[in-house]
Every structure is written in structure tokens, then in C-alpha cells.
Amino acid sequence: MTDHRRTLALTAVLAGLIVISTVAAPLASARPAHEIPVREVSDANLDEPDADGWEAVPASDVPLASAPSSVPNADDTSIETVDVQAARTDERLYVRLEWHDATRDMDASATREFADAVAVQFPANTSSRPPIAMGGPDNRVNVWYWSGATGTQELLAGGAGSTTAFENPTVQANASHAGTGGNATWTVVYSRPLDVSGENRTDLRTDGDLDVAFAVWNGSNGERSGQKAVSEWHYYPFSGGPQGPPYETLLWTIAGIAIVAVVGVTSFGIYRTRGVE
């Protein structure tokens, strides 16, 4: 009987551990794939690409792929990943992007010369997620654009080919290119005040998740327009702590219950077998 009790107690502890590990662990560990953390900071030493403040801000590797586009050579893009950091103060949102590019293409003053460029895209209206390729006519996007040749622009687009610059841009960008050869990197820091006037500008004070996407152009590869390396939609979790999509939690819960049930049934079987003896 003592044996039986010990077995029962052991089974109960084991089952409890399994339930805890299966249900709790996935919520606490891996960040949802498309989430990019935003560090809320009070100090705003983040304007420059090499500012000290960035050391404390977590980074996310965002994979890039050639954008679907009808322009010639749209499949020929060269940048495969961009490192993204984001921080928000009471007044501004800062976005820092870093990627490898061996050549510093700052000019477009020869007929065949194109400049390196980078862009961050937000929904103009944060209540719904626009089509990834420059938004749509009823669902526009804000684009923060920086190019080595033309500097910073704040853009509005409602579908491919509709990109239009705001007349009074509110976005700032600082860029630097460091290193040589394969280790050479571009770093660009964008920032925009949370409060800006004018229509069609993304509300950065939103309490919900803020959708965001990225694009990079390598000028020396002739990349411009739709020939660009782009990300999928990601999001900044302004709604609070990390949150996975609900189906993930649901799946882990079902899996946990199933495991507990199997362990329980098995233990019960063993217990009964021994009881018969």
C-alpha cells in the first residue's frame, strides 16, 4: 500500500510539473516571431547611430526578401536581413536599423548610379493592417525614407506607384556607414515626435500593437523602386507585455492537457496492475 501511495504521489508531482512547464514556459520564453520589442526610456540619447543609449535596447533580426514587383530585375536584391531596435520616450519614437552593405553608395549624380536607401512603413491609420506593398487606396501607409542621395523623406502611399512626400516632414534620420568589406554596415536612426499635426500621419501614441515593416535598397546593385529587399509586417507591442497570438496559447494548453491525460492514464494502469497482484 505504501508503494502504491508513493507511486501515486510521484505521478501527481510529475503531472503537475508537466502542466506547469507546458503551459507556462512558452508564454514566458520565446517572443512571438513578428514582434519587435520597444524599450520605454526616459533618457533620449538616441539620435545618433552610435549613441550610448542604444546599448540597452534589445535588437531583432528581421529577415528580408525581394519584394514582389513588376519592375525589371525585381528578384535581384542583395540585403538579406536588417537588425531593428526601437525605443520610445515620452515625446519621440526612435527606430534604429542596421544592415550589412560593403559599399557606401551616397550619390545618384551619374546616369547609372543609385544610392543606398532604407525605409520603415507604418499604417497611416493604426486601426487596421494595410496591404504590405505600399498599402492600398483605402488603407494608406506612412513611410519614413532615407536615401544616401536625397536624405530623409516622410512619405504617404496608397498602393504601389502612389508614393507622395509630405511637404513638411516631421521625421528625422541620421545615418552612418562603418567598417569595410563584408563587415561594413549601415546604421540609420529615425525618429519622429509622438505628437504631430496633420492628417495621414501614424498615431504613435497608440495603446494597441503598431504594425511596422522594413525595406532596404542596395544602390550599387541598381536597386530602386520595387527592386528592394522587404520584410513582412511586424509589430511593436505598445499594448503592454509580450503577447503571442491566442492560438499559440490554445495549442500549448491542449498539448499540456493531453500529456497530463496520457501520464495519468498510464500511471493509473500501472497502479491497477500492481493492485491486482
Binding site: A149, S162, S225
Partner: protein, 357 residues
């Protein structure tokens, strides 16, 4: 004009004007009159392309044929359409600075201010230019040959530059089919530059936007000081007055007669399938000479070369012109010969025929 009348007119004419375009400006250049003086080139340049970033551009250029042209090798640089359906474009290339020809620096200061007695000459890098191979042509003495080919934007009926722009910054304007670049929409991608098989769209290296021949639309709209209408500067300033300017669908005008009725004015490189609206009267040349200096009945300019430039219609065009010349030589009358001479009764410039619409 009412819609019904418009429909009637459309049914009466066989002129293929682009969809959504009311009338199509057009130009006929008689290559037999071109003396290669470049007055058209300079007239255009001093009007439109003197600002920074456009130094290398010649919206109007005159090149020697056979020859590399401007930009060098443009005929092999791609662009245009794959088929007559105008659905798939052929890929093209952007010419580089060397192909266009850089502006040379000369040793003016040494000679003018430093007392140098060396001859005036480019400092260095003078290895190619827009007219580097001028008058070179082809063939061996005594049967060498060349002719001049003035070129502007063809303001095509199916412009592949317009189709190439992902931002619709280029457009064919409704009233007269002139192809323009909207400077507010252009973002300097240069798909138009590579997409034009004639390489007649240029990238401004300072404004970072593309530009092209505008068919002097302010002149034809009467925007001058006295509100008068003028033909494009390249046409008006031409010393031998080799250009006719008007509308392709003006059936009373000389252009319609030369292009559609007599079929002696031909588009350049029709195989690009953009359907140009600049047409050329193909060049005649004296027959070949023997070593003794006798003229023989062999074409000096190889007919195949002209077919390569102007398509297979060139044979019939040359035959038609020759037949009319013969008729006039024998004392007969020929409307065609009058159209091709300065007693042109249909007026050389007809730009106000549709003004009342």
C-alpha cells in the same frame, strides 16, 4: 465638336492615334535636306538644357549615319516592345556618361592667362563625344557614303517609356499626344531611360529626375510674348527648313499626305514597335562611281542599311519618290514633289487646325 461628329471623324480616318489621345502631333524630316549644321541642336539646347545636370543632354541631336550615334550604340541598347500586342516590354540599359560623351575641359586658362603657346585643345579624356564619328560614314573611296540623322523624342503612339515608369510619372497628354515627364511625380528611377529604345529620355544628375523633349509645347500653345503659335525651335531654326510640323490626323496637312497617302515618310526603327510620330523622308545619294569616275546604277547607300533603319517600306518609298521626280522632269505635275519643296501649298507648320474644338 459633338460626340457624334467625333465618331464620324474617327470612322473616316485610318490614322492610328493612341487611346485617350484627341490628336497626335507629328513631324516629318526630309533627310535629303539636312546639312548637319546642328542649328537645331543648339536651338533646343539653349532653350531647354543649359541648367546644371543637363549639360550632357541633347534632346535634339544630329548624328552621322552609318555611325554609333548619340548616345553611343543606342540602337543596340534595348527597350521597346516584344510584340505588336504591346504587353511585354524588352529590357533595356541605361547608357553611361562615356556613351553620352562628357563635356570636355579645354586649356583656355593656360592659353589666355598663362602665356602658353600650345594649341587650344581638350585637357584629357577626349575619347568620345556626341559627334565623335561625324562625317565618317562607311564605304571605300570613291564609294564612301554617309548622311545626317536628326533625332528628337518620337512622341510614340505606344511609348515604352510611359509603360516603364512604375509611378506613372510619364504620360501622353490627351490633347496632342506629347509625351511628358511630370517632374513632381518623378523619383529618378530611370526605368524610362532604359525603356526608351531611342534613348531619348535623360536623367538630370542634379535634380535627380528624368527629362525629355517636350515638343516645345509652350511654343505650340502660343505661350510666347505675343501669344503667337510657333513650331518647335528645332524646326523653326533649321536653315534648310527640313522639318514639317503638324498633326498626323490632320488629313489636309502635308504630314498626313506624306505618311498615310504617299507613304514616303517612314518611322525610324519600326521594329521597336513603339510607333514613332517622327517620320523621315529616306535619303537619296548619287549612284556609285567606277574608278574612272563614271556613275553606275548601283545604290551608294546600301538598300539593306536603309531597310535596317526605316523598315521594309523604304523600297516603296524611294520608288514612289523616284517616279514622281521622273514625272516632274518630264514636265508633269506632282503634289508629292511640291510637298517636298518649299512651295509646299499645305503649309509646313500646321499647328492651329484643331484650335476651335
Amino acid at each position: 465638336m459633338s460626340t457624334d461628329q467625333q465618331d464620324d471623324q474617327d470612322e473616316d480616318t485610318l490614322v492610328n492615334v493612341a487611346d485617350g489621345v484627341d490628336h497626335q502631333v507629328a513631324m516629318v524630316m526630309d533627310l535629303n535636306k539636312c546639312i548637319g549644321c546642328q542649328t537645331c541642336t543648339i536651338a533646343c539646347k539653349s532653350l531647354w538644357t543649359e541648367d546644371g545636370g543637363s549639360e550632357y543632354m541633347y534632346w535634339n541631336n544630329v548624328e552621322t549615319k552609318p555611325g554609333e550615334g548619340y548616345p553611343r550604340g543606342w540602337e543596340d541598347s534595348g527597350g521597346g516592345w516584344e510584340s505588336e500586342e504591346h504587353s511585354d516590354r524588352s529590357p533595356g540599359e541605361i547608357p553611361d556618361e562615356e556613351d553620352y560623351g562628357r563635356a570636355w575641359e579645354f586649356n583656355h586658362s593656360e592659353i589666355m592667362y598663362e602665356g602658353s603657346d600650345e594649341p587650344l585643345r581638350p585637357r584629357e579624356g577626349a575619347e568620345w563625344g556626341p559627334n565623335w564619328d561625324e562625317d565618317q560614314g562607311a564605304g571605300e573611296y570613291p564609294n564612301s557614303y554617309y548622311f545626317y540623322l536628326p533625332r528628337i523624342c518620337n512622341h510614340c503612339t505606344h511609348p515604352s517609356c510611359v509603360e516603364a515608369c512604375p509611378r506613372s510619372a510619364l504620360y501622353k497628354r490627351q490633347e496632342d499626344g506629347i509625351v511628358l515627364v511630370d517632374q513632381d511625380r518623378c523619383r529618378g528611377y530611370r526605368y524610362c531611360v532604359e525603356g526608351c529604345p531611342y534613348k531619348k529620355v535623360y536623367y538630370n544628375t542634379v535634380s535627380k529626375k528624368s527629362e525629355k523633349c517636350i515638343f516645345c509645347y509652350p511654343r505650340i500653345e502660343g505661350e510666347g510674348p505675343d501669344g503667337e503659335t510657333f513650331a518647335p525651335a528645332c524646326a523653326e531654326e533649321c536653315p534648310p527648313q527640313l522639318r514639317m510640323v503638324g498633326f498626323l490626323d490632320d488629313e489636309e496637312g502635308p504630314i498626313h499626305k506624306l505618311v498615310e497617302e504617299y507613304e514616303v515618310a517612314l518611322p525610324l526603327h519600326p521594329e521597336f514597335r513603339t510607333q514613332p510620330n517622327v517620320y523621315y523622308i529616306p535619303p537619296f545619294a548619287p549612284g556609285q562611281h567606277t574608278e574612272d569616275g563614271e556613275t553606275v546604277d548601283i545604290d551608294r547607300i546600301p538598300r539593306q542599311y536603309l531597310r535596317n533603319l526605316f523598315g521594309d517600306g523604304v523600297d516603296e518609298a524611294l520608288d514612289t519618290i523616284e517616279a514622281h521626280r521622273q514625272r516632274v522632269r518630264q514636265g508633269g505635275d506632282s503634289e508629292l514633289m511640291e510637298l517636298l519643296q518649299d512651295k509646299n501649298p499645305a503649309k509646313q507648320y500646321r499647328l492651329e487646325v484643331f484650335d476651335d474644338e
